[in-house]
Structure formats: structure tokens, C-alpha cells
């Protein structure tokens, strides 16, 4: 029975059907049902979902608990925001907020982002590069899971402090906002905002396709193997550090793309959106949805963000309690997330996390 459903699920029809259903919901149902304002919120949730897809790969499949995704989200967002500010200011001009603090023009490292092409390339390449460096540095030294988690958290803290500490170039604690256009299109025109939503939905679907291919590929198998028995992978002649670094870099890129789209959709990026707290916040949706699955993190992230907005409209302080309880209950009692409740499982997909697996005997303190 299980093998039958598994085969069914993995057949091209059901995967295709799943994507088709998602596309119909995102492109037809949602725009028809939701008001402009709510659709804008959904577009924002889709950006969070992009971060979640990457976390699902790195954490769920690769066992790397990254508490620093806010950094990559922030890099993507700030790069896009810098480009938008420069584009609004016009060729050779200084963005409005800079003029308030100092009379010098934009610093040299702003200049390349006048070009939209450079910005898009940078959004894809810089986070991947940074993640590769960090990944190689930590995974090669065989830094343990807990260290990696805490170091990535420290990184998020440092990133936010740096942003706040340089108001003349990063907008400080306010961040960057007040964008007029996006690649030449006015952000105030509702038609363009609708197109932004479609863009986010399309990018998310494309991302899911790519990540799915990664997950079912040989590389995907290797990644799960690294999570469950790193030593054995090493003995088989593979380099676990490289395998893990690739997943970490992919996760960084999805987060950066989410951040880059977040900026024109929401209209502001501030250190509050990239620090320690939001970085951990990204994880809860992934955990609830099911960290090892493909769709789980996406649905979880959207559901959590939606619940956050709705609940905070009703009870301001209630949302924090709910968030705390979700972390406690889901992680402690339902580590597989909602996906593990759904009867259809893939054997490999719902294999226990690295800590559950009996790896190196006696390694427990």
C-alpha cells in the first residue's frame, strides 16, 4: 500500500498536478478572491515562503540548523533596496536619505548597483559566495551542529548591528524605504503591484521546481546521507563538507531572492526584518509544515505569516504567546511537522533528523 502511494506520488502526474493546483490557486483563485491589500500581504508571505524552501533543504534535508537566514534575506533585500534608491534618485544623484546625514555622495560600494543587471546578478551571486565561504570554513573544520547554529545566530546579530550602526549608508534602524519605481514601473500603480505579486508567485513556483529536482537527484540522496551518517559518506569517498556547503549556498540564494522581492512588495526593509529574531522566526513555519518535505515549508511559512498578521490585528500580545507555544509544542512533540500527520509519507523524506539517527555511538552529552 505504502509503496503504491509512494509511486503514485512520485509519478509525473501527481507532481504535475500538485504544481498545477498551486499555480491555479496562486494565479487565478487568490487574485479573484483577495482585496488589493490582502493580495499584497500574500505576496509578502510568498517571499517568506522562498526563504522557507531553502531552509527546508538545508535544515530538513541537510541537518544544518541555520539561524542566520536573515543575513542572506537581508543581503538580497538591501541590494535591491540600494538599486531602487539609486534608480529613484536618477543618474549620478544621491538618494534622499543620505543627504540628511552627510553631504558626500553615495559611497563607492553603492555605485555598481545603479545598474539593474549588476544588482540582479549580485543578488544571486553574493549570498552564494558568502554562504560557500562560511560553509567551507565551518563544515571543513567539522564544526558541530550546535556550534554552527550559534555562530550563524551571532552572524545575524552582527549583521543587524552593522546595519544599524551605519545610518549614512544603510539607513540605520529605519532601513531603506520610500521607493517610487521598480525597474522603471511605478510602485504606486495597483496594476504594477498586481504584477509584482504574479512575479513573486512565478518565482516561488520556479524555485520549487528547481529544489524538487535537487531533492530527487543523486545529490539529494547524498545530502540526506550526510545528515544521517556523515562519517559513512566520508568513508564512501565523498566530501560531506562540499555536499553540505552546496545546500547551504542554495538556501542562501533562495533567501536572498525572497528578500529582493520583499523590498518592492512591502516597500521597506529595516534591520528589524533581518536580525536574530526574524532569522529564528523563519524556522517555525518550516518546522510546522514539515522540514523534510518540499511543500511543507512553503505552506507552513505562509500559514504562520498569515496567522501572525491576523492574530496581531486581534490581540497585539497574543501572537508572541502563540509563536512561543508553536515552537515548544511542534518541535518537542511533532518534529516531523504537519506533514508527518498526513498519512502519505515518503520513506526517505520523513526519516528522522540527524540527531534521531544512531550515528556515532556514544556521542551524547
Amino acid at each position: 500500500m505504502t509503496t503504491f502511494t509512494t509511486r503514485m506520488l512520485r509519478s509525473r502526474y501527481s507532481v504535475g498536478l500538485g504544481f498545477l493546483a498551486a499555480a491555479v490557486v496562486l494565479f487565478v483563485v487568490a487574485p479573484a478572491v483577495l482585496s488589493d491589500f490582502r493580495l499584497g500581504l500574500l505576496a509578502k508571505y510568498l517571499c517568506f515562503a522562498m526563504v522557507a524552501v531553502g531552509i527546508g533543504l538545508a535544515w530538513g534535508r541537510g541537518g544544518m540548523l541555520t539561524l542566520g537566514q536573515g543575513v542572506f534575506f537581508g543581503i538580497g533585500a538591501y541590494l535591491m533596496a540600494m538599486h531602487l534608491k539609486l534608480a529613484d534618485a536618477g543618474p549620478g544623484e544621491t538618494p534622499d536619505f543620505m543627504a540628511l546625514i552627510s553631504s558626500d555622495g553615495p559611497p563607492w560600494w553603492w555605485e555598481p548597483f545603479r545598474s539593474p543587471a549588476v544588482t540582479v546578478v549580485a543578488i544571486l551571486v553574493l549570498p552564494a559566495l558568502l554562504a560557500t565561504l562560511l560553509g567551507l570554513a565551518t563544515f571543513r573544520r567539522r564544526v558541530r551542529g550546535a556550534y554552527f547554529a550559534i555562530l550563524s545566530q551571532a552572524l545575524a546579530a552582527a549583521f543587524a548591528i552593522l546595519l544599524i550602526g551605519n545610518p549614512a549608508t544603510t539607513g540605520g534602524s529605519t532601513g531603506l524605504n520610500n521607493f517610487v519605481g521598480f525597474l522603471g514601473f511605478s510602485l504606486r500603480d495597483p496594476a504594477n503591484r498586481l504584477m509584482l505579486y504574479f512575479l513573486a508567485a512565478g518565482v516561488l513556483l520556479g524555485m520549487l521546481v528547481i529544489i524538487r529536482q535537487l531533492m530527487v537527484s543523486r545529490y539529494g540522496e547524498l545530502l540526506v546521507a550526510c545528515r544521517d551518517a556523515e562519517e559513512r559518506v566520508r568513508f564512501l569517498g565523498y566530501d560531506p563538507a562540499t555536499v553540505k556547503t552546496v545546500a547551504f549556498a542554495v538556501a542562501a540564494v533562495t533567501a536572498a531572492v525572497g528578500g529582493a522581492l520583499f523590498v518592492p512588495i512591502v516597500g521597506i526593509i529595516s534591520p528589524n526584518d533581518v536580525g536574530v529574531v526574524p532569522s529564528i522566526g523563519f524556522l517555525i513555519g518550516v518546522a510546522i509544515g514539515g522540514r523534510t518535505t518540499l511543500a511543507g515549508p512553503v505552506l507552513g511559512a505562509i500559514a504562520v505569516a498569515w496567522a501572525g498578521t491576523t492574530l496581531s490585528e486581534q490581540f497585539p500580545s497574543g501572537w508572541t504567546y502563540v509563536q512561543g507555544l508553536l515552537f515548544m509544542l511542534v518541535i518537542a512533540f511533532l518534529p516531523g511537522g504537519v506533514a508527518s500527520l498526513v498519512a502519505i509519507r515518503r520513506r526517505r523524506g520523513t526519516a528522522p533528523g540527524p540527531e534521531l539517527a544512531p550515528t556515532k555511538g556514544g556521542k551524547s552529552t
Binding site: A154, G165, V276, Y321, G324, K360
Partner: protein, 294 residues
């Protein structure tokens, strides 16, 4: 010379606070492997204990002395509660303890906001602790000296307990080889509970010390918990002397860099230094040599 002495003292004083915050973690994280993000909130609970005691008693001096044991008990009880209800079932997945305790910390913070308000509250220091004292021609704030003394006292007390009591022996036995300890008739469950009680209780004491420095607010813990974890990692897991050296080194580095640059840059630079250090010594200053740690 004046600046040199002042800045070294400031560094030691920052370090002593880091040490107090990290001391409990050397037990719960270093020895038991639990990544307790709610440790910061136990610090906060200790600080609010001092606040409540002072509100009820009035006298600053008596209530300071009384709050120390009380905060230890309250922090410890919170820790035991957490251990028994949630963490006990999770020792085999340390990464997940991080997220669970993060949830606990969110709830404790919000609870503190709802009970005490979001504003920082002040716990006035007793008269004999305010103002500076002259030593060898240099003036040092009295409250800072007390914190320094308190952190050293806590280290000595912890060392005595671990080295020279039967409880300490059982804790060390459990950490070094759980199965063997169990075979020798030690109830490792009780020992886990006790270890957590002491570790979390020390967080409560750190909270009382923090009332001497600044305001007590619900997000007090978040500003210390990441730093405290870094101290434990740099010091080496479960290494008391490592934690002491790491705490004072980080403290001195922080205040020196802060003096010559600015507070934000100092924070970032210290983090960079830590990452760089771990690059060539991932096991920390000292490493625990036991069979159980691969």
C-alpha cells in the same frame, strides 16, 4: 596610565558579567548538551526577583542579600520545570532543544511584559554601593567591584560543589559516562534535574547582579544569551577554567575596542574574533577529554 587601569577594570567588569551569565551554561550546555535559549530569561527572572523583593521589603541592603538565594531558587525551579516537562524527552536531539527553548523564552518574555510592563524598572542599589571608591589612587565604582566579587564567589562555589561534594562527583560521573554512572547506582534522571537546577539558578544570580548595572526589562536576557553561549564555546565545552578565561578575554577585548572605536563596532569585531579563533581551535581553549565525546 589612568586610562589603562580604567579600561582594564571596565573589561574585567564586563567579563565578570559575561562569566556570571555563562557559568550556568557551562553546566547545561557544556555538560548536558542542551542549548537553552531560555537561559537569558532565567537571568531576567532573577532580576525581577530582586525587583519584587525590594518592592516588598523596601530596604535596599537587606533585599539585595535576600534576593541572591531567592533568585537562585527561582531560576533553578524554572530550569527544573523546563527540564522535566520538555527537555527530558529531547536529550538525543540537541539542535531541537534550541528551538523549543526559544519558544519558552518568547513566552517568558511576553509574560514578563504583561506582568511588569515593557518599561525598564529600576532596583536602587543600597547606599553603601553607590558611588566610587579610591584604591591606590584610582577610583572604581563600588557596584562593579561587588559584581566582580560575586562572579568569583560563584565560580569558587561551583568548583567546590563539583569537586568536593558527593553531588558534584555524581554530576561529573554522569557527564563522563552516563551508562557507567547508572550502573554504579546513580540516578541519572535526578542528576540531570540537579544539574539543571544549579545551572539555571546561577542564571538567577546573574540577574540580581545585573540590577546593579542598569534597568531590568523583559528583553534583558536576549542581550546576554548569545554572548554567554560564545563564552562557553570559546572556553571549551564544559570547561570551567576555559569559560573564566574566555569571559574575561572577551570582556577586555570588548571594552578596549569600544574605547578606541565605538560600541557597535566593538560588538561586531568581537564576534569576528570569536569566529576566527574557532577556525583554528574549534574545540575551544580547553577541550574535555572523556571517552564519551567523539
Amino acid at each position: 596610565m589612568e586610562i589603562l587601569v580604567t579600561q582594564i577594570f571596565n573589561g574585567l567588569s564586563v567579563g565578570s558579567i559575561l562569566l556570571l551569565a555563562a557559568l550556568g551554561l557551562t553546566l547545561t550546555f557544556g555538560q548536558m548538551g542542551v542549548i537553552n535559549m531560555a537561559h537569558g530569561e532565567f537571568i531576567m527572572a532573577g532580576a525581577y526577583t530582586a525587583f519584587v523583593v525590594q518592592q516588598t521589603l523596601g530596604s535596599a541592603g537587606v533585599s539585595l542579600l535576600l534576593s541572591l538565594p531567592l533568585a537562585f531558587a527561582i531560576g533553578g525551579l524554572l530550569g527544573v520545570l523546563l527540564e522535566v516537562t520538555l527537555l527530558r524527552r529531547m536529550y538525543h536531539r540537541p539542535l531541537d532543544t534550541l528551538l523549543v527553548t526559544w519558544g519558552v523564552s518568547l513566552i517568558l518574555q511576553q509574560a514578563a511584559r504583561d506582568v511588569f510592563g515593557t518599561a525598564g524598572v529600576d532596583v536602587p542599589a543600597p547606599g553603601w554601593l553607590s558611588g566610587p571608591v579610591e584604591i591606590l589612587g584610582f577610583s572604581f565604582p563600588r557596584s562593579r567591584l561587588l559584581i566582580l566579587a560575586l562572579s568569583l564567589a560563584a565560580v569558587v562555589a561551583l568548583l567546590l560543589v563539583l569537586r568536593h561534594t558527593s553531588l558534584g562527583r555524581r554530576i561529573r560521573a554522569t557527564v563522563q559516562h552516563r551508562q557507567l554512572a547508572e550502573t554504579s547506582g546513580i540516578s541519572t534522571r535526578r542528576i540531570d534535574m540537579m544539574t539543571f537546577f544549579i545551572g539555571s539558578g546561577l542564571a538567577g544570580v546573574a540577574g540580581v547582579a545585573l540590577t546593579l548595572m542598569g534597568s531590568i526589562s523583559p528583553n534583558l536576557g536576549t542581550s546576554y544569551v548569545v554572548d554567554a553561549f560564545l563564552v562557553v564555546i570559546v572556553g571549551g565545552l564544559g570547561q570551567l577554567r576555559g569559560a573564566i578565561i574566555a569571559a574575561f578575554a572577551l570582556g577586555v577585548a570588548q571594552s578596549w575596542i569600544e574605547y578606541s572605536t565605538s560600541a557597535s563596532i566593538a560588538k561586531v569585531l568581537v564576534l569576528v574574533l570569536v569566529v576566527a579563533f574557532l577556525q583554528f581551535r574549534p574545540q575551544g581553549i580547553f577541550s574535555l577529554r572523556t571517552r564519551s565525546l567523539a
